[in-house]
């Protein structure tokens, strides 16, 4: 206790530990040059368009279709990731079986595998002659160059987020209340729905939001598999790039600002949720 008090006091008198000046210089330099100035320039450039021009650029039918594809596929992918993620996290935490550690390591593959590789492989897997496509295409399931393909790669890139947020919360879950519920006659389903799920729900929701944020911005893998057909399988980041390649900077900027606004609002939601998870853990 006493050390804690001296510690806080020492940190307030910030002259005690060295390096404040140089650290703040490095941090502000990198932060300003890489994050603050670029994002401000983007916002200013969009603001300089004026409201009517901005709307004309950001709200064209093609752009609206791209937002819809982006949002729709990302929400579906994040939901699939959350459900699958909860299940995988549950198995990793609650059940001991040979190969558990291997499964645990494999979950991180999407974090380390370049998204371009993922996109390339998924598109070759689900075409008619691919490993999986040869079974699925005859059934009428088109996994490549389709909306489903977008969802598939987005699930791939967002799955680790959904798992890794839920896993520690499941680990720290107090087993006593579960045991009490079972002793008092609740069946497994009741115990899960009324005791476990409320406790892990904020974590599941955080995982969903993180997966959604990741999916909304994803470009590398989608560009390979979606076919990028305007109005059908064109996501917002792909539209930004194609506008940029036509040197339509104003339009690209306007669409980027809409996408940025979505991401930043998600970041705010994630931060609020994470604070709630931290409070629940205490």
């Amino acid at each position: 206790m006493s050390t804690e008090i001296t510690t806080t006091r020492a940190m307030r008198r910030r002259s005690v530990l060295p390096g404040f000046g140089i650290s703040i210089a490095i941090t502000s330099l990198v932060m300003t040059a890489l994050v603050i100035i670029p994002l401000s320039v983007l916002a200013l450039r969009a603001a300089s368009l004026g409201p009517t021009e901005f709307l004309a650029a950001a709200w064209t039918p093609r752009a609206r279709a791209a937002y819809a594809v982006s949002l729709g596929a990302s929400v579906v992918a994040a939901a699939v990731s959350s459900v699958c993620g909860l299940l995988v996290a549950w198995v990793l935490v609650r059940i001991d079986f040979p190969g558990r550690r291997l499964l645990d390591s494999l979950v991180d593959v999407p974090l380390a595998l370049p998204t371009a590789v993922a996109g390339l492989v998924y598109s070759t897997l689900y075409v008619e002659r691919g490993w999986l496509g040869r079974f699925l295409v005859p059934l009428g399931i088109q996994g490549a160059y389709s909306w489903l393909g977008i969802v598939l790669v987005l699930v791939f890139v967002s799955l680790p987020f959904a798992i890794r947020v839920v896993q520690p919360v499941l680990e720290s879950l107090d087993r006593d209340s579960e045991e009490a519920a079972r002793m008092l006659g609740a069946n497994r389903a009741q115990t899960f729905l009324k005791v476990i799920f409320p406790a892990i729900f904020p974590a599941v929701l955080t995982g969903f939001a993180l997966a959604l944020a990741r999916a909304l911005g994803e470009y590398g893998s989608v560009v390979f598999i979606s076919g990028n057909m305007p109005f059908k399988t064109e996501i917002a980041p792909v539209l930004i790039v194609s506008r940029l390649e036509e040197f339509a900077y104003a339009e690209a900027t306007a669409i980027a600002v809409v996408l940025l606004a979505m991401s930043i609002s998600l970041l705010v939601v994630v931060n609020a949720l994470q604070q709630r998870v931290a409070r629940n853990a205490q």
Binding site: L111, V117, T124
Partner: protein
């Protein structure tokens, strides 16, 4: 380790759950990963090697990736240490804003980040004309690649360091300062040994992301073969040119790198867990051992003091 208790499911349900989890990971992760290598080596290792080594543009892409990624990681390492030091050791106005800002690159689409850089450094950008008159090229050139890659990997080192430095606390550094160590000595002899595994963890993750970054780099590179194509961009270009086997060969190198990253990550995480346990054990020791008059390492400490001019 879970033991059978009243709350554990029956063996049949457990097996079913394991099967579904293995199925999910298998179908989404293992099958694609295996197929990269299967496709890359479909025509034998000789063809694989030819695709990589005998194509000058691919060779250049590999070389470019090996230059850009370390530069971005180096910037991130310096930024990560400085920011984690600030956040974990000082209280100042704007501290929580800084923590939030560190996460921003994670939630911004890489394409948007690349576009922002083009708006600043591009030919029609804010600084474009000035840079052009100086003869500097940022967009469609390697400095742009480094900037874009640094942006997308910015949170990775910092996020690893902050929790570890918060958990360790400033006591040892305060002790070093009170014994007369200067800033550099505190950093190299106290802080760095304490955070080395967490730092390495962050560097490994940042490097993997830097090698594989596609969206941000795609926008700023102008994809000029043999000039600004990194390995992931080369994968896409070969794919667009209907040279899928060659594309798969480059992809297999990236996938191999990802596997090496995961093994390194696994080893480092073991070390981190061991150190966290040690820290916990040290915390639970009674105060008398910490506060005893002669610490066992009194010798090196005095020599440290003696070396200070």
């Amino acid at each position: 380790m879970p033991k059978p208790t009243i709350t554990s499911a029956n063996p049949l349900t457990e097996r079913l759950l394991i099967a579904v989890a293995v199925g999910i990971v298998g179908l989404l992760i293992v099958v694609p990963l295996a197929s990269v290598f299967a496709e890359a080596f479909a025509e034998g290792p000789a063809a694989w090697w030819r695709a990589l080594a005998h194509d000058p543009d691919t060779r250049h892409a590999i070389w470019l990736s090996l230059t850009v990624a370390p530069l971005a990681v180096a910037i991130n390492t310096v930024f990560g240490i400085a920011t984690a030091w600030l956040v974990s050791r000082f209280r100042f106005p704007g501290r929580s804003l800084l923590i939030t800002l560190c996460d921003v690159p994670f939630s911004v689409s890489p394409v948007v980040a690349g576009l922002a850089l083009v708006l600043i450094f591009g030919r029609q950008g804010l600084l474009g004309p000035t840079l052009a008159s100086l003869g500097w090229k940022v967009i469609f050139s390697w400095p742009g690649l480094v900037l874009a890659t640094t942006f997308v990997t910015l949170p990775l080192v910092v996020r690893e360091l902050i929790p570890v430095m918060e958990a360790i606390g400033p006591e040892e550094e305060l002790a070093a300062v009170s014994l007369g160590a200067n800033g550099w000595q505190v950093f190299t002899r106290v802080t760095l040994p304490n955070i080395r595994w967490a730092l390495l963890h962050g560097i490994v993750l940042a490097n993997a992301r830097a090698m594989g970054e596609f969206g941000a780099v795609y926008v700023v590179s102008g994809h000029i073969a043999g000039a600004t194509d990194t390995m992931p961009l080369r994968v896409e270009k070969l794919f667009q040119e209907y040279r899928t086997p060659a594309s798969m060969a480059v992809a297999s190198v990236l996938a191999g790198l990802a596997l090496v990253t995961l093994v390194a990550k696994f080893v480092i995480e073991r070390q981190l867990e061991a150190e966290a346990r040690e820290l916990e054990a040290a915390r639970s020791l009674p105060d008398t051992i910490d506060g005893s008059g002669t610490p066992p390492d009194a010798g090196p400490r005095t020599s440290t003091q003696a070396s200070i001019p």
